[in-house]
Structures are given as C-alpha cells and as structure tokens.
Symmetry: C2
Subunit: 215 residues, 2 copies
C-alpha cells in the first residue's frame, strides 16, 4: 500500500500543477516541480513512478498529461462524492465553495440536527435531518464525510458516518476522533494550526529583533 506521506505529496503535486496550468505553464522538469513542492528532484521522480508516469528527458513533464495520470491514479475523474454534516457557518462556507463546481469534489448530501435548517436547500444542496443520515446514505454513494459540527458532537457524527459505510472522514471539529482501523481521518483543526503558526511567528520575530539589536 502507498504510504500516507506519498499520497500527501501526490495531492500536493496536483495542487501545484493546477496552479502552474493557470499560469500557462505547459512543461515542468522534475527539479522545477521539486522546487515548488520543497522536496528533492529524486523524491518527485520516485513518487511519480508510483503512478507510472515518466517525463520526457528533453522537455520534462507535460503538465496536462501528468495531471491526467494523477486523476486516473486517484480515480477521481468522476468526482469525489462527499457528505457534509453540520450546516453552521463553516459548513455553509464549504457548501457554497464546493457546490460551484470549482473542484472535483461533489457534496452528495448535507445533514443538520437543527429542524430550522433541515428540509432547506442551501447553495443548491438539500439539507436532511440528522436522524435520516443512515437512510439517505443507503441510497447515495459517498466516499468521504466532512464533519463541521461542534466538538461535543463530532464523535457521534463520526460513528454514524462509519456505521453508514463511509471510510474517509475530514474532521474540522477541534477533537481527535476514534475510528476503526479501516477508516481514514484527516483532521483540519484551524485553532491548532493558528496556535502553531503563532508560536513560530513569535520566535521568528524575536530572532529578527535580536539580530537587529546586535547590529
């Protein structure tokens, strides 16, 4: 099985290639992609061997072809069907982002326990009541569940999604979920990320100050 680190790098290459395509780049050498991704050129070549793509030694990688190979490897050509649970402000923001079709991610169903929200259609997506989760997901293919509920409810929601057969979770709640080993959880904890960035920001700023005072 491909390691989580390799997959992270491959999804990173995808993002970088999308970015380069928007800038009009048609070809990239491994050392250029490595530079953008902050890894070594040898790493880039090893990673792309996993998806069976090799560039032309003279012209490098063809940006469009490489993107196509990555899409095929990830088998995301038909889009990633996701379910979103928790239509608060973050949930609504994600709905409005993904329902515009700016990526290959499709929200197939949304859920909220608040009766004032369920039954409504938000950004073109029907919001179902929480207690219909199992029933709705029995009829729709969903690969990935997005958890945008408060921390106190996240584990319950994760359990319900796992019980409904969802094997991938992206958790935005500031808690660590317990799931069976056949379920993959990616945590996007905004508060922790800001705390981390702030810690390094402060030490960098202090270092800058010290250097100035030594001048």
């Amino acid at each position: 099985m491909v390691s989580e680190k390799t997959i992270s790098r491959l999804t990173n290459y995808q993002t970088l290639l999308r970015q380069q395509q928007l800038l009009g780049t048609t070809h990239l050498f491994s050392h250029q992609l490595a530079d953008l991704a902050r890894v070594t050129p040898a790493q880039v070549r090893r990673d792309l061997m996993v998806i069976g793509y090799t560039g032309n030694p003279r012209t490098g990688y063809h940006v469009g072809d490489l993107q196509e190979s990555l899409m095929q490897f990830f088998a995301f050509s038909s889009g990633i069907p996701t379910a979103l649970v928790g239509v608060g402000s973050l949930g609504r923001a994600l709905l409005s982002y993904f329902m515009t079709g700016r990526s290959n991610i499709r929200i197939a169903a949304a859920f909220d326990h608040d009766p004032a929200k369920s039954g409504r259609t938000i950004s073109g997506c029907r919001v179902h009541p929480m207690d219909r989760l199992a029933t709705v997901l029995a009829g729709v293919e969903v690969t990935c569940g997005l958890i945008t509920v408060p921390g106190s409810e996240a584990q319950k929601v994760a359990d319900a999604l796992v019980a409904a057969g969802v094997h991938g979770l992206v958790n935005f709640a500031p808690v660590r979920l317990k799931v069976p080993p056949t379920v993959f959880v990616e945590t996007l904890d905004v508060t922790s990320s800001i705390e981390k960035a702030a810690f390094f920001a402060r030490s960098f700023a202090r270092k800058g100050q010290e250097e100035l005072s030594h001048e």
Copy 2:
C-alpha cells in the same frame, strides 16, 4: 529551537486536554494522554519536558495545571492577535467563529478588496479595504495572518502581510506560498485533504470488499 513536529504534538495535547476538561477529567497519566494522541508515553514525557512540566507519579498530570503550563509556554495567555484577509464565505465563517471568543484567537483586523465589504462590520469585526493593510497593521499588533482569498490572489496577500511584519501565515488558498525563511506558513488545503481522505477511503473500502469475497 523546538522542532515543528514537537510544536504540532504540543498543540495537539492542548486540544486533547481541552476536550478532556469538558468531559470532566481532572487527571491523566502519560499513557492515557499518549493513547489519545496516538504517540508513545515516552514521547509525551519527552515533549512535556520541553515545557518544563512533570506530573505526579501517583496521580499523573493535573489537566488544569498542564493546560496552564502549555499556555505559558506558548505565551498565548493574552490571546493570539490575527488579521484575516478575504471576507468571502470561508472568511466570514472564521470571523463568526473566532469573534465569539470560543478560543484564545482574536481577529484584530479584517481586509477585503471588495468595496461592498470594506467599511462594513461583520460579526463585530470592522472590514478594511485591502489597500489600507499596511497602514492598519502599522497600528495593531498582529502575530498571524489568515489568508482566505482565492488562489490567484494568495501570493500577493502573503507578500503584503509579510511586508507589514507578520511572521506567521495560515493559508486556506489551494496554492503553495513563497515566503522568506523568517516566515512560517501553515497550509490548510481543504481540497487536498478531501482528496487524500478519499484515496484511503477507497482502498479501505476495496480491501473490505475483498475480505468479504474471500469469506
């Protein structure tokens, strides 16, 4: 200097301790915290040595005291002042989350290039026009910048924040930023995270199917 991995683990402990405190836990042994954080007990003890905290061998760590030590280490007791750039749906969601004071993160200023948004107060936070960024940040202490603009504008915004003396960035745009070595960037790329979770979800689901067919 403390490594990025150590800092990530320490912020993770903070999240777990908040969670445990809400559940009414007053004491935790290193092996319990290790179990929650999915690291070894030895790792937990090494990490907490960095912040100078040691538990009582009989009763373990005191949850409240340990949180206090972490807060002091991170020097976040007075809150982390942040600036948010890009008041679209995600920016608004973050504003409404952080302006309610549910964490130690304070949005000190928000910016948007859209004249329809700047000048307004959203979730209690005044939104300034983009071209006032340098002026406004000259008068407010800001440790961390949150970038919630589209990918095409993210680098420009990062440059402006760095020029204004901000050393920590949390980037939500699906691009990789180039910054000087004295600036720390944390990337929260929702699309990449979903792609990664979907990849593993599919292989786990396939494996489950295979196991079933072998029964």
